[in-house]
Symmetry: D3
Subunit: 132 residues, 6 copies
Amino acid sequence: MAKLIEYKDMAPGARAVVDGIAAARGIDPADINNVWKALARNPGVMEQFAAEMKAAFAPGKLDPLTKELVYLAISIANQCDYCIASHGTMARNKGMTDEMHEEFMRVVLAAQKGNKIAMAYRVPVDAVFEEN
Amino acid sequence: MAKLIEYKDMAPGARAVVDGIAAARGIDPADINNVWKALARNPGVMEQFAAEMKAAFAPGKLDPLTKELVYLAISIANQCDYCIASHGTMARNKGMTDEMHEEFMRVVLAAQKGNKIAMAYRVPVDAVFEEN
Amino acid sequence: MAKLIEYKDMAPGARAVVDGIAAARGIDPADINNVWKALARNPGVMEQFAAEMKAAFAPGKLDPLTKELVYLAISIANQCDYCIASHGTMARNKGMTDEMHEEFMRVVLAAQKGNKIAMAYRVPVDAVFEEN
Amino acid sequence: MAKLIEYKDMAPGARAVVDGIAAARGIDPADINNVWKALARNPGVMEQFAAEMKAAFAPGKLDPLTKELVYLAISIANQCDYCIASHGTMARNKGMTDEMHEEFMRVVLAAQKGNKIAMAYRVPVDAVFEEN
Amino acid sequence: MAKLIEYKDMAPGARAVVDGIAAARGIDPADINNVWKALARNPGVMEQFAAEMKAAFAPGKLDPLTKELVYLAISIANQCDYCIASHGTMARNKGMTDEMHEEFMRVVLAAQKGNKIAMAYRVPVDAVFEEN
Amino acid sequence: MAKLIEYKDMAPGARAVVDGIAAARGIDPADINNVWKALARNPGVMEQFAAEMKAAFAPGKLDPLTKELVYLAISIANQCDYCIASHGTMARNKGMTDEMHEEFMRVVLAAQKGNKIAMAYRVPVDAVFEEN
């Protein structure tokens, strides 16, 4: 199990990262998720990841739920249980209904199958797909 | 390289699958993509995959581009070059701009990193994420 | 942890899938495995997977144990703990002895190594292997 | 591309490995497959892998085709193009018909889907599968 | 859960493997790690893996900590929780400080990202990298 | 194939990244590697990755070759052909001899096997490995 560091025991650099996340989410820094308590061991890695997550989820052309679904898709393909649990919850918080979840899972599973078919049958890329 | 079977040489079952796809896309069956030419060797697998893809991309609560981005995300995580080339093209055809592509890649890469961090630091799932 | 839906609480579509599996296995529907209790949330995905499993394990040219070993091999390569536990049990139920298990594991581990060697040394495919 | 070492240029240790394989297969050592020409750079790794492959495919309780299918299944799951091409060819040489190939692919794809379902829905292992 | 076989219940072949490892580490054979208790079911696989590990970690040109970091990197990429826990501990025992761990994680995460970028953008290998 | 953007055609942000890398390596910016020419399409992702690589390879407690070997190990586990080719070359440039390469590959392959064994036999983590 990870050695989790509670907010009160974090080094200043790690604490600053948690302060930023807690402020953005409107939560108490002491209630920060485990991934940040674990990362607090390596403040440099923690800062970089926090900045990357912030940039990835900054308002833009893709809506917040689409971004969550992309994050969740990657997590399922990579079989990260923590990420499936956490970003599955976040997707529901951002509006994913049971019906949307079923549609999402249909695409995920079709993609999984398409990926394996392309590999197993050693399919060459069509010229028309090489253009962009 | 895959043994590709051209439309004119396909068995009736395989040809029927291609007819359906070509009609839906408004293309000549002879111009069907390589993945179907390769799958034509195994018509049973081909029929099942075509039905699965059709169900996955049927109109629903998630818009067509979101579904393409989920499919593309899975393909990147699984490192399927054929699928990245083909569904990357389809995503652009369905409206993905360069700006959206950059946002998409930011989420994909942040997810990749988050997945590895959760594993490498052996982070236990927060109780709040166990509820759904 | 998954939200498991017990048989008595399933929607009619999900219940029908379980009835079919239970009848084929000669078990009480209430004793269905967890994977089906989890999938009952998404009856459409559940029906499709049940049909796919039935087709995959229908009597054919490959004997039942060979099919189980192929399923188990994929599950080990993909590191699916649930699937290793369940299909490992099924393989034993279908006749896999300790001796056969050891032979199976030798092939699995040799393949793992061969796969990595081919990638790490960037080995080009021999012309003789391109023919089929 | 790999730096391939031809038989005539191999170090004695590597040449001995090739002699053993060529004798067992009844082929000219100069016609050895690329994977061995690439591995000849690291004779120690080469000897170990050759011994492991020999032990894995030694006559036993599982028939030769079953072993090839297990090897091929692992290679598909791991997406090793070289191994899919080479062991796909070997499976056909050992008797895999088109009909068997379709059955095999059905099991491979069902397993792929089952693996992802178990992960995505976070299914807990049934007590009955914990026993062996 | 694995069926673990305690030292006193192991077959002679398995016991001999454990005796060798325990002697090299200066520990009581009864305190051998779980991986060996699980492998004791398949003594042939166990012997081969013990020999491979011994050869991999034999004194050579790479120092022991570098080898542990390579082993740990592979285990993180492959998402093997057991291996991350065990070889993470061994890396610390061989001198990995918190500072070195952070540097190591930075390289691991940069590599993860580089790997995905190369795939997602379908980058062709530079001619200068094809030479060795 | 990736759409590669040559240095002279890059946007100012992308060009600045290449200038930094070229200066650090003492090369002509026009000779920058393909990965940067591909990433130039998404300058934001490019800047972030360049910063991450710089931080990962900054002088520290781990020597440059060790870092390259960790990067190469991840790339082999993830089966990234571009990364194996490029970082394999860089490892040789930083002093990796054939003898060291063989030792490295022995550890990589032993780790691959250990990872699969831990999963396939479902080995529980020893209490002693849970402590850090």
